[in-house]
């Protein structure tokens, strides 16, 4: 189980210290039991030591109900806090954590009017592409992974809030994939999909491609228009602005996360949409980020949810090799600074 730090928006919420993703794709918030206890020592005193279940309950309240409709803003969390919680250990810096499944139904700082969304990040292909793959999967790659994960958490929350349906964005995974297999991985060369490309401008040459299978496309259309799921039946009639909206949010979440963590200046271009067979939708993007060899470095997140079994979208982040190196350097620099100030503070 990989534990991820939270973005700055959620870092302010006392009692939450991280997040992880479970095997089933659900996001789990990680709770700092000590903090919860100390915040609520009155209640805790009154109740005494409790079972772990009560911690879970406490966290549910903090994090918001499961499978709930869109939740209010994150600030609300502070109030909702605490039911006491147990655990007899003395407060130490290294705290025990309880993991709780929380629907990403929580707050989302990002919504329609995203101020300065930023780009998506990610690596695509490389020189000896294996060399870049090593960077991304090696020690420094953890930084990139962290950033990606922030994006995934924010995107999950934002989409859930936007749609009122539980939607989860998995933590992106980077791997080498044969170019000829990319379309198959995304559901089949000939399957109908909505494709959305968001280029990134600024300090990095990057782009994000979202591949949305037909069933999900129809669902998003219904959800974003407040109609019952299943109303839209024809892909040709799908409102592209609705899809665009979803893509914008996703792109913004990831781009923001990258810009935040790297302190690079990044901004997304206007999303472009194409509804077509899967392979045609992705081929020009693959060509744009082409590198030598038969493989590409695919950094891909999968979006689950909306109650549709087959509603799995693929989000692929592309980064030119030079930009990938630049991003890694910026992340290392920013991380070092953050560590220094943390020690100082």
């Amino acid at each position: 189980m990989v534990i991820k730090s939270l973005s700055r928006h959620y870092r302010e919420v006392e009692g939450l210290i991280g997040a992880s993703i479970l095997g089933n794709g659900k996001i789990a918030l990680i709770v700092d039991v000590e903090t919860l206890i100390s915040q609520n020592h009155h209640a805790a005193d009154a109740v005494g030591v409790k079972s772990r279940a009560s911690v879970v309950e406490a966290v549910r309240q903090v994090a918001g109900p499961k499978a709930s409709p869109p939740q209010p803003a994150p600030a609300a969390k502070h109030e909702a806090a605490p039911v006491p919680a147990p655990v007899t250990q003395p407060p130490t810096l290294v705290t025990p954590v309880a993991r709780v499944e929380a629907a990403p139904a929580t707050p989302a700082p990002i919504a329609r009017a995203v101020p300065a969304p930023a780009p998506a990040e990610t690596p695509s292909t490389s020189q000896p592409i294996e060399e870049l793959a090593k960077i991304v999967t090696g020690a420094k790659g953890r930084l990139l992974e962290d950033v990606n994960n922030q994006g995934a958490i924010q995107a999950s929350m934002s989409l859930t809030q936007l749609t009122g349906q539980e939607i989860r964005v998995s933590f992106p995974e980077s791997r080498l994939v044969a170019i000829k297999d990319v379309a198959e991985i995304m559901g089949g060369e000939e399957s109908t999909v909505g494709g959305m490309y968001v280029g990134v401008q600024g300090d990095l040459a990057a782009g994000m491609l979202l591949v949305i299978p037909e069933p999900y496309l129809l669902l998003m259309d219904d959800v974003l228009h407040g109609r019952p799921s299943g109303t839209a039946t024809r892909t040709a009639e799908v409102d592209l602005s609705a899809v665009s909206e979803m893509g914008n949010i996703l792109a913004s979440c990831f781009i923001n996360a990258i810009a935040d963590a790297s302190r690079l200046n990044l901004s997304p271009e206007v999303p472009e949409i194409s509804i077509d067979m899967c392979l045609p939708v992705i081929d020009s993007v693959l060509a744009r980020f082409n590198q030598p060899g038969d493989n590409i470095l695919l950094t891909q997140a999968v979006i689950y949810g909306g109650g549709l079994e087959n509603a799995v979208c693929h989000q692929v982040l592309f980064l030119e090799p030079d930009s990938l190196r630049k991003l890694m350097d910026a992340l290392v620099r920013a991380q070092t600074q953050a560590d220094t100030s943390r020690v100082a503070g």
């Binding site: 000939e190 494709g195 509804i275 020009s284 693959l286 082409n290």
Partner: protein, 156 residues
């Protein structure tokens, strides 16, 4: 037989050649007398020097397909070419993404001309992806988009 991105294949029997194209370009070569056909699924116009992947680029894929098809029994002098694909999948886009299809078409035509192979059928450009099936026996090609059959063409 499905030809995937950046790959090529040659058939000498009753099998069809299939591929799906967006901004990529499909080049079909056929010797109608020997009934030998080949298809290259090309992604980009010009070969990078540091890339060994011949099938990806128009300027290297066309000669490579020519070599394969002649070694399978086709006669260079009887070959005819069909050119399909090269759409703009994200037409509003910034120039890089939008112009790849056109560049592929131009580069494929150039490579065919240099190999002295006449183009007998073209179904190119536009804004939609194409699903292509080529029948080696009849020499007939069928091109479909998501919405409709766009065109069919045949040469003996």
């Amino acid at each position: 037989m499905t030809v995937k991105m950046a790959e090529m294949d040659v058939v000498t029997d009753g099998r069809s050649l299939k591929t799906i194209l967006g901004s990529c370009v499909g080049v079909i070569l056929r010797d109608p007398e020997k009934r030998v056909s080949g298809l290259a699924h090309i992604m980009l116009p010009e070969k990078r020097r540091d890339d060994e992947a011949t099938g990806k680029y128009a300027d290297s894929a066309v000669p490579a397909l020519l070599a394969r098809i002649t070694s399978s029994g086709a006669r260079h002098g009887s070959l005819q070419a069909m050119l399909i694909g090269g759409a703009q999948m994200f037409p509003m886009g910034n120039s890089t993404l939008a112009s790849i299809g056109d560049q592929n078409v131009v580069a494929a035509r150039k490579a065919l001309k240099e190999s002295r192979i006449p183009i007998v059928f073209e179904e190119i450009g536009g804004k939609a992806g194409r699903s292509v099936v080529f029948d080696n026996i009849t020499g007939q090609v069928s091109v479909k988009t998501l919405q409709a059959i766009v065109s069919t063409g045949a040469r003996k």
